[in-house]
């Protein structure tokens, strides 16, 4: 985005910087005019110019900061100011405001990652500490001092000054950082359901906010309850739409509150102008801060979950690559069958065409066979490629028959090379299961190769693998992979699904762990047992797909 990642080197400003500067000038103009439009006694409930300056400083390299410090001067001189404001007071506010901006930007840059996203609770606390509490408080001492010279009450001026600064940084600054400058990074085109939800949320918040803030009296009772009507919508925004949604909700609520207060409506209507402003500030500050915390906590939890999920995916992907590596020799052999057949067929056709008369029917048959072998080779390559690809979880209705066919295609050659026969037993009319095709294939391949490994020392005629698929209950399909090997030693049963536990000399012992992760992420279970007549059986369950998704 604008200014993100720019290096603080002296160079000619880019077009983006010109645009940023233009936006800054316009924004500062309106912010300043709005801030100054309040009488000095009441003062602005938000000191918007602080938001504009801080955002500009955070979004541009420190080498350009001087520009944004100097740029407000003409605006401050040109905008009509309250008649009782003296030039030295204006100069003092300028110096204080600039110092605030520079200090806040420096501290935030130092302690937070750039660009500032307020994604963790720590980020938010640091931000609040510096930009909302510490710097406004310090600046308020200076500002109140200046006011005090103009015969204002020192502490009242301090509070006014502090609240105006603090509020703009709680309510407006995060919204600007997120909405205006971070939008393209976080906001992908949302699916219609989410857009609809956001729309409903906005309408609900606007309605309840309007009702709450324009109610006729501030008496305890029904009206009091109505005053809390927007709260569910605020939490809705925080829980479902994160910091992004919270920023929007808070700005909307602030807008409604200020409008209501200006119109003399609602709970803030029966106070003095200064009292109204203060009540408004307390109201917004105490709404916005906890809401942001909730939103950030939600986002943190979601992100942690997503990261864990991504790690599992990555691990599964690596395991697939390693499995395919194991199968590579056999798969090359598998591919050489159709390739060899195509070659021999083509050679035969050439020779037949040289005969006199050529047997064209035979050539036709040859061409049909070449086409079929080509498709066979493509199918193997497709299967390989889909298993080797990085892959994110995609749950769909998967027919077990098809799944096993695809798996067989990949392991057939490997099993043949190891002299292992594979038998698949499956009742007809089995409903499809809900699962990720690639991951379920991965589990099956893993169990089949494990079974073949287990029979390494058995005589060839005993090397039999059996896959049995059946309904465990009305909603569960159970798949069992049985081998004819020596079976599992009882003391090893408990460790089977633990990381780095392996009974084999090769391999990392991750296969079964990953299989378990995959099965459990499908809501199923995986376990092993020894057969009564020798060998071991690994079983896993998968839920059947909801009827309407059945394919």
């Amino acid at each position: 985005m604008l200014g993100f990642g720019a290096k603080p080197a002296v160079r000619w400003p880019t077009r983006r910087e010109f645009v940023l500067f233009g936006i800054f000038e316009a924004a500062f103009y309106f912010a300043y005019r709005y801030g100054m439009s309040f009488s000095e006694a009441s003062a602005s409930p938000f000191w918007f110019p602080d938001t504009v300056l801080l955002c500009a400083l955070l979004l541009s390299p420190p080498g350009r900061w001087w520009l944004f410090v100097l740029a407000p001067i003409p605006i401050r001189l040109l905008v009509a100011v309250p008649p009782d404001a003296s030039l030295w007071f204006l100069a003092a506010t300028y110096v204080i405001d600039s110092a605030k901006g520079l200090l806040a930007a420096t501290l935030l840059r130092r302690s937070l990652r750039n660009p500032i996203r307020l994604e963790t609770v720590r980020d938010f606390v640091v931000y609040c500490l510096y930009a909302v509490l510490l710097i406004p408080a310090l600046a308020a001492f200076a500002g109140a001092g200046a006011r005090h010279h103009l015969d204002h009450d020192y502490w009242a001026a301090w509070e006014q000054w502090f609240m105006g600064d603090a509020l703009t940084h709680v309510v407006i600054t995060p919204a600007v950082l997120y909405w205006v400058f971070g939008a393209s990074q976080t906001l992908r085109l949302p699916p219609w359901r989410r857009s609809l939800e956001a729309g409903l949320l906005a309408v609900g918040l606007a309605l309840t906010g309007y009702v709450a803030l324009n109610s006729e009296s501030n008496q305890i009772g029904f009206v009091e309850a109505r005053f809390y009507a927007p709260v569910p919508f605020l939490f809705w925004a925080a829980m479902r739409f994160g910091v992004f949604g919270t920023a929007g909700a808070v700005v909307l609520l602030a807008f409604l509150a200020v409008q209501a207060a200006l119109a003399g409506n609602g709970p803030f209507s029966q106070l003095s102008p200064a009292g109204t402003a203060r009540a408004l500030q307390h109201f917004l500050l105490l709404r916005a801060a906890p809401l942001y915390l909730v939103a950030i906590l939600m986002e943190q939890a979601k992100r942690a979950q997503a990261e864990a999920q991504e790690q599992r995916m990555e691990l599964a992907h690596m395991a697939r690559i390693s499995t395919m590596g194991q199968l590579a020799t056999a798969l090359a052999h598998e591919l050489n069958q159709p390739l060899g057949a195509m070659l021999r067929n083509a050679e035969a056709a050439e020779m037949i065409l040289h005969q006199n008369p050529p047997d064209l029917d035979e050539v036709k048959a040859i061409l049909a066979d070449i086409r079929q072998d080509d498709q066979r080779a493509s199918a193997v390559i497709d299967r390989m490629r889909s298993l080797l690809k990085r892959h994110s979880l995609a749950l769909e209705a998967v027919a077990m028959r098809q799944l096993l066919d695809q798996v067989t295609l990949l392991v057939r050659a490997e099993l043949a090379a190891r002299r292992v026969t594979l038998q698949v037993v499956m009742p007809p009319g089995l409903p499809p299961v809900r699962g990720d095709r690639i991951h379920l294939q991965q589990v099956l391949i893993n169990l089949l190769i494990n079974g073949a490994d287990a029979m390494k020392h058995s005589p060839p005629e005993q090397r039999q693998l059996l896959v049995e698929v059946r309904m465990a209950d009305d909603h569960t399909v159970e798949t069992a992979v049985s081998d004819n090997g020596p079976g599992l030693p009882p003391e090893k049963m408990t460790h089977l699904f633990q990381p780095f536990y392996t009974t084999k000399s090769e391999g990392m012992g991750m296969g079964l762990v990953i299989s378990r992760t995959i099965v459990e992420s499908h809501g199923g279970r995986i376990w092993a047992e020894n057969n009564a007549d020798g060998g071991a059986t690994f079983r896993f369950t998968t839920k059947i797909a909801p009827a309407e998704n059945a394919s």
Binding site: A332, L335, G340, A341, R344, E362, I366, R376, A413, A416
Partner: protein
């Protein structure tokens, strides 16, 4: 032992490759028979077949090497040309040691495959001639009586009639008579030819000379 014109017996569990390679040999002018497993071939082949076998190395149930072993144990061991999907060094070495005629991948050029098959056919014809001759020689030796065999064993050790007579405790003239009779049955003119003939027929006692001379001092 006449199996008619030489044939190529193709054995491969992969049907599409089996069909294709059989087509190619047929188009090249060979007589071809295709089998989809080693067992099927061993059971259904004509026992007096002539020609060669082109077999896939990797087959379930019974692989190419095992087929070659089984075939070698019969009295009609056709030469085997191996085809494989992927060059497997260990399997290649084993196959060559067992006397594989050739070892090619399924993607080897047609010319190499045809050349290998022609070599195999030549070898089969040569081996067959050798076997036929050996068989015929064995038949000749089989006609000898046990007394003639006794004399033969001593002759093969390089002993003279006098010695043999002494060893067997019979008259020298009887030895000479039996020697003349066995030479007639074996259709040879001189004792010198005898050892060469016995060697060709694979008759026991026809070991190379040094062994035979060693037994001399003791006798």
């Amino acid at each position: 032992m006449t199996g008619g014109a030489p044939m190529i017996f193709v054995v491969d569990d992969n049907t599409s490759f089996l069909t294709a390679v059989a087509r190619m040999f047929r188009a090249a002018g060979f007589g071809v028979k295709a089998y989809s497993s080693a067992r099927e071939f061993l059971v259904e082949r004509p026992t007096d077949a002539t020609g060669c076998v082109v077999a896939d190395l990797q087959m379930p149930d019974m692989n190419g090497i095992e087929l070659q072993g089984a075939l070698a144990a019969t009295d009609n061991p056709l030469p085997v040309v191996f085809l494989t999907g992927e060059g497997d060094i260990a399997a290649t070495v084993k196959a060559m040691r067992q006397g594989a005629e050739d070892f090619l991948t399924k993607l080897s050029p047609k010319e190499e495959l045809l050349a290998a098959v022609r070599r195999a056919l030549v070898r089969d014809a040569r081996d067959r001639e050798l076997r036929t001759r050996q068989h015929e020689l064995k038949n000749r030796f089989a006609r000898l009586t046990s007394r003639e065999n006794e004399v033969l064993a001593h002759l093969l050790r390089g002993q003279q009639c006098k010695q043999i007579a002494a060893d067997l405790g019979i008259e020298e003239r009887s030895v000479q008579r039996r020697r003349a009779s066995l030479m007639e049955k074996l259709q040879i003119q001189s004792v010198v030819e005898l050892s060469a003939l016995a060697l060709a027929a694979g008759i026991a006692g026809a070991e190379p000379r040094p062994l035979a001379t060693e037994t001399l001092p003791g006798s």
